[in-house]
């Protein structure tokens, strides 16, 4: 075999970075091209929604509940210093619904769902199962990628709403123990300062996070190389990159939501 002369435009690292960005862009645009064209694998979307949504419920319940309790416990002393402990439910409502619910859900799903998608598709890639689908005239992108990304985009917002609900319950447990407040008063106060934009931006964030987790997991898995080592690498990169993008998206969406709120 012959080895050709060096053909890099800048250097190997720079060329690889731009090539990876272009590949990720092509992968994402391919998703939008294929997601809205028949055949639609509804059965597989439901199956993946079950895998992503229902199987994450336990973890989200425990985490959401603990976040609610801890955040309430940490916030109380500061508010008491200013004699504003009656504002605690409102503060918790804003913090959990606007930020903590979607963010905690997204980070848990990036770890659990993103790594699982990356590893599953990665192992399918390196053991030629994806090629096997292709030679059987089955579009593996449509069957494996489109279904998982849609399921993730649908399930993360639902889990986020659920996480916010459980977080508020956790918070109520703490507030009730300390101040003997009723559930009705707690919820009335918690939601009194929330606006439509808060709920809408929270849902929008969760949709974006769900899409990010699905597409990054699939991209890394679908492009895995180097055997079993590549599978581990794909799963790891899926988690790291998803989390990084989630924080980046959080900053952007918060800025946009604030801009709309002040408009």
């Amino acid at each position: 075999m012959e080895v050709k002369a060096n053909k890099y435009i800048f250097s190997k690292g720079v060329d690889t970075f731009f090539s990876d960005v272009y590949k990720a862009y092509s992968f994402t645009t391919r998703f939008f091209k294929e997601a809205f064209v028949a055949p639609f694998h509804f059965k597989e979307i439901i199956h993946q929604s079950f895998e992503i949504g229902l199987k994450s419920l336990g973890l989200i319940t425990v985490t959401g509940f603990i976040v609610g309790i801890v955040f309430t416990k940490q916030s109380r002393p500061s508010l008491e210093d200013f004699g504003a402990s009656s504002w605690l439910p409102s503060l918790i409502g804003i913090a959990i619904v606007r930020a903590l619910g979607p963010l905690v859900t997204a980070l848990i799903c990036a770890g659990k769902v993103g790594s699982s998608i990356g590893a599953e598709l990665g192992s399918m890639k390196v053991t030629e199962q994806i090629d096997a689908m292709e030679v059987s005239a089955i579009n593996p992108f449509k069957y494996l990628v489109v279904t998982r990304v849609i399921a993730s985009t649908l399930m993360v917002p639902l889990l986020s709403l659920y996480c916010s609900f459980v977080g508020l319950i956790g918070s109520y447990v703490n507030v009730h123990a300390e101040e003997n407040t009723t559930l009705a008063i707690f919820y009335k106060n918690a939601f009194s300062t929330l606006t439509f934009i808060d709920i809408f931006s929270s849902l929008a964030k969760a949709i974006v996070y769900g899409f990010t987790i699905g597409i990054i997991g699939c991209y890394k898995g679908f492009n895995a190389t180097q055997g079993t080592r590549g599978v581990g690498k794909a799963a790891n990169q899926a988690v790291v990159l998803s989390m990084f993008l989630i924080f980046l998206e959080e900053v952007i969406i918060v800025q946009v939501a604030n801009w709309i709120r002040n408009f």
């Binding site: 080895v3 030629e128 005239a137």
Partner: protein, 260 residues
């Protein structure tokens, strides 16, 4: 020399695969450098060569899994490079591809592995028809009793057989075997060789067998072709090719039959 089981005479003279001037590189690496190759209807050809010589790349290009850099690849009368996705899928239904790793879907049992390509390509089939087709394909490879098992529960040889059964369920006209006997003991290899012959007789297929196992090549194919440094060094009936005094061909022969 061993007994050659497949007849060297081929019934018809229609080419089912015709490749001219095929080039393929991966980055800085030239793998195929001007390959010319023809498979006639009813013919089984073994492509022999060292590991990394581009044998698997060749059949992946035939199946449309990889794109050639240059050259023409005509399969069943259609230029693979010119086909759109839909046409390529229609062509792929006429080609069976048996992977080196078997490539069975880990998350599905054997029944689901076989039913999956069938149901995805023919939504009109009812459950009874699907079950019948699955049982027929499993019976053809002698593993009907494994229908409810998971791929992880099977031996390497059984996985290879199931992989072949999964391709047979779509009734292909061409079979592409990628290292069908690699990693198997001599007895299991011999069973796979017999299965390849049975498939040709029962389903009237043509085949390209990628291997570096000369026993497999001799027992299953009418012709052998030696791929070396991205080009075919020699092609023809087994005995004729290995009569050659070319030191590279002789070294390949000696390695297989003297060292093993």
């Amino acid at each position: 020399m061993m007994e050659q089981i497949i007849d060297q005479e081929v019934s018809t003279e229609t080419p089912v695969i015709s490749i001219h001037g095929l080039y393929k590189s991966f980055g800085e690496l030239d793998v195929l450098k001007g390959v010319d190759f023809t498979v006639m209807k009813g013919e089984n050809i073994a492509v022999l060569g060292k590991s990394g010589s581009g044998k698997s790349v060749l059949i992946k290009i035939i199946a449309g899994l990889l794109k050639a850099d240059k050259g023409s690849v005509n399969v069943l009368g259609q230029e693979v490079e010119l086909l759109n996705a839909k046409e390529l899928d229609a062509l792929r239904l006429r080609i069976g591809f048996s992977f080196q790793s078997s490539a069975l879907y880990d998350s599905m049992n054997i029944y689901q592995n076989l039913a999956f390509p069938l149901t995805m390509n023919n939504k009109k089939l009812n459950a009874q028809q699907v079950t019948q087709a699955v049982e027929e394909a499993l019976d053809a490879v002698g593993l009907l009793n494994k229908i409810n098992q998971m791929p992880a529960d099977l031996s390497g040889g059984q996985r290879k057989r199931i992989g072949i059964a999964r391709t047979l369920i779509l009734k292909p006209e061409i079979m592409l075997y990628d290292e069908p006997t690699s990693g198997l003991d001599p007895n299991t290899s011999s069973e796979i060789n017999l299965l390849i012959q049975d498939v040709q007789k029962k389903y009237n297929t043509s085949a390209v067998v990628i291997t570096h196992d000369l026993t497999c090549a001799k027992q299953t194919c009418n012709q052998v072709a030696i791929l070396l440094d991205g080009q075919f060094l020699k092609m023809g009936p087994f005995d004729e090719v290995f009569k050659s005094t070319d030191p590279q061909i002789q070294s390949f022969y000696n390695y297989n039959f003297i060292n093993h």
